[in-house]
């Protein structure tokens, strides 16, 4: 394998996954923008380090970035505590001031003609191909440091993110934990901006966590998943950029990450867009089914005998879309809730019990609305039309208990219980 390619691959993978693990806590704390601000704020430190060092020494660079980043971080905190500015204002104030200062320093160097401009510009948009063997060693050491740091401080970071007051109340060294977290964040960003640059860095910190959070509810799993997403993006991005000539690595890494991010928002179980859609659709179908059963049960209730209803009969009693009704009847037949009789349908014993349940819930809820919420009897029907499909057996039990096993609803219709 091409040694340059291998260097870039190892470098970007390490930094992406370690940045993702550190960024997870910022994401959970709702401070996604702080990472962006610090990334921008590193610029003056990096440029000054570039000036003082010979421009290629990674240690100089890291120290410069660290100092610059820490000043920015505590600057944001100071502004927040001493003024009435909102936190997003404080963050943007620091971000733009530091970034502006950094750009100014950069142009000064360019004008003085030190001949290293190309080297400096890589920090703005990143240039993974410029990674040297020295960089790879430093990145690896830092990535290990970051992982070990998060592992060591796991309890502290977890509690500080979830409930900082409690952490302070039990006497944890919160200032020290916060400082450690800031140093780790700045270090992650420092190695990150070498490949993706200041502007795209926030994506590396936040997107993997946003994607991972959609799939899991456990913090350790989320950290692991974020690292895996970040590493796969780094590998894929590096491959794409090496396969196609003149393609930058950083932007490709970020794009692949975005693909993971949006993909997770769409496909994740429970929280994903598709899952929500599926739930909504299933409940719509359930609503139609239960409405049909209710309708048939009420006809039987009125006539005192079991009835056979055609779809036309049903449509004349209740406004429904004929297509949906037909689909629903097919579904009901498959579930053995109705049977076909000639060109009509009749309830099975199971279907009758279901229909009775829906009618019962409707009437119980109407009674609850008048008795507990003080609503007038002519205002309660629409609410009950919805709630009859929502109420679970557990809530039904509570309702019956609270209303004292009622016999009649507010319209004096009997509340049909299952015969024992």
């Amino acid at each position: 394998m091409d040694p340059i390619f291998l260097k870039v691959l190892i470098g970007t993978t390490l930094l992406a996954s370690s940045a993702a693990v550190v960024g997870a806590f910022s994401y959970l704390k709702g401070q996604s923008l702080v990472g962006d601000a610090i990334a921008h704020a590193l610029l003056p430190g990096v440029v000054l380090a570039f000036l003082l060092g010979d421009g290629r020494n990674p240690i100089f660079l890291i120290v410069g970035a660290l100092i610059s980043g820490l000043i920015a971080h505590y600057g944001i905190g100071y502004i927040q505590s001493r003024t009435k500015l909102k936190s997003d204002t404080a963050v943007s104030l620091v971000l733009s001031t530091f970034f502006g200062f950094g750009i100014m320093l950069m142009s000064l160097i360019q004008r003085s003609g030190q001949g290293q401009q190309a080297g400096l510009e890589r920090y703005l948009l990143g240039k993974a191909a410029a990674i040297t063997m020295d960089d790879v060693y430093v990145f690896s050491a830092l990535a290990v440091l970051l992982m070990v740091g998060v592992g060591l401080f796991y309890k502290g970071f977890q509690l500080m993110t979830f409930n900082e007051d409690f952490a302070a109340a039990i006497g944890l060294p919160v200032t020290f934990i916060r400082f450690t977290f800031t140093v780790l964040t700045v270090l992650a960003i420092t190695i990150g901006i070498q490949t993706v640059g200041v502007v795209l860095m926030a994506a590396l910190l936040i997107t993997p966590s946003a994607a991972a959070r959609a799939w899991t509810k456990s913090l350790p799993t989320m950290l692991l998943l974020a690292a895996v997403f970040a590493a796969s993006s780094a590998i894929t991005g590096t491959y794409i950029s090496s396969a196609i000539p003149k393609m930058p690595t950083g932007p490709w890494v970020v794009l692949v990450l975005a693909f993971f991010g949006f993909g997770s928002l769409i496909f994740a179980p429970e929280k994903g867009w598709l899952a929500k859609r599926r739930r909504a659709l299933a409940n719509q179908k359930k609503t139609v089914r239960e409405n049909v059963l209710k309708l048939m049960y009420q006809q039987e209730e009125r006539n005192g005998v079991s009835v056979v209803l055609s779809t036309e009969n049903m449509l004349s009693i209740r406004v429904m879309q004929p297509e949906k009704l037909r689909n629903s009847l097919r579904d009901l037949k498959r579930r053995l809730l109705v049977v076909e009789h000639g060109n009509g349908y009749a309830l099975t014993e199971l279907g009758r019990s279901e229909g009775r349940r829906v009618v019962r819930l409707h009437r119980l809820w109407e009674l609850y609305l008048t008795e507990r919420l003080g609503m007038a009897a002519d205002h309660i029907h629409p609410g009950a039309e919805t709630m009859e499909h929502v109420i679970t057996p557990e809530i039904e039990e509570l309702l019956v208990k609270e209303l004292g096993n009622p016999e009649l609803d507010p319209h004096q219709s009997p509340i049909p219980y299952e015969e024992a």
Partner: protein, 266 residues
């Protein structure tokens, strides 16, 4: 009787506006104490200052006759339920185990003993079957009980709870109350911030009535009188709130340095 908490001439401000003004009282041990007052009367600030989460402008607080740092392991704190993001990726057990975190085990893994104590705490609040339920999927009352279980897992002698009855259903309210009484019978001290006057008389043995200044503190029979309640809920004192505004907008200090009443060094 030993004092559980001593609050000495305490003045605390928020954004340089006084929220507690020269408050001074002490509390007995082995009682259920209510800190009661209208909205914005400084109840939560009182609790946070005792827990060292806010710095007083003047005065000091002591627990069991000592500064907080000396007795931290004997003190447990239950913040307001709404103060955290319940969407955080954690299950019930994770949160209760946080009650076992200490300065000296921060870098150590959770031990079997910690797990045993957390399980016991969950049992006491009747949530054992929910141990691996996501905290985001709990009802308000269950979330409150998780916080109380975390506090029980601290195995402290004094418990400070911020509005534990807010947003919980009637069944949970009864369960919490019964638990508090059990704790009292074991000699624990429970201090509760509470805003509901209706229930205060029934719940507490001892009451602190607060409205920026101290209105009264003592056994409930002495404090729960019409006159004192009226004083606490009858609005703020005009002079105090005007002075407070002035101090805040004109950048006056609340105390000149030589008059800060810190605890005298021994």
């Amino acid at each position: 009787m030993e004092k559980s908490i001593e609050v000495h001439n305490l003045t605390v401000s928020y954004h340089s506006k006084p929220v507690l003004w020269d408050v001074d009282f002490s509390l007995p041990t082995g009682k259920i104490v209510g800190i009661v007052g209208p909205n914005g009367s400084g109840k939560t600030t009182m609790l946070k200052t005792i827990m060292g989460l806010m710095k007083p402008d003047s005065g000091y607080t002591e627990i069991f006759g000592q500064p907080l740092d000396k007795v931290r392991e004997r003190v447990s704190y239950v913040p307001q339920r709404e103060s955290v993001d319940w969407d955080f990726p954690a299950d019930v057990m994770d949160v209760v185990l946080m009650g076992r975190y200490r300065k000296n085990n921060l870098f150590r893994r959770i031990s079997k003993e910690d797990k045993r104590i957390a399980t016991e705490a969950l049992e006491k609040v009747n949530l054992l079957e929910f141990a691996h339920r996501q905290i985001s999927q709990l009802s308000g009352g269950q979330q409150q009980r998780v916080f109380i279980a975390r506090s029980l897992a601290q195995q402290a002698d004094i418990y400070l709870m911020d509005e534990p009855f807010v947003g919980v259903d009637a069944a949970t309210e009864d369960a919490i109350l019964q638990l508090l009484r059990e704790m009292k019978n074991q000699g624990k001290t429970v201090i509760i911030v509470h805003h509901d006057l209706q229930t205060a008389n029934e719940y507490f043995d001892h009451i602190v009535l607060l409205n920026t200044r101290l209105v009264a503190a003592g056994p409930k029979e002495e404090v729960f009188t019409k006159e004192l309640l009226q004083e606490a809920y009858g609005g703020r004192l005009t002079v105090l709130s005007k002075l407070g505004d002035l101090i805040s907008t004109e950048e006056f200090p609340l105390r000149e340095p030589e008059f800060k009443e810190n605890k005298p060094e021994k």
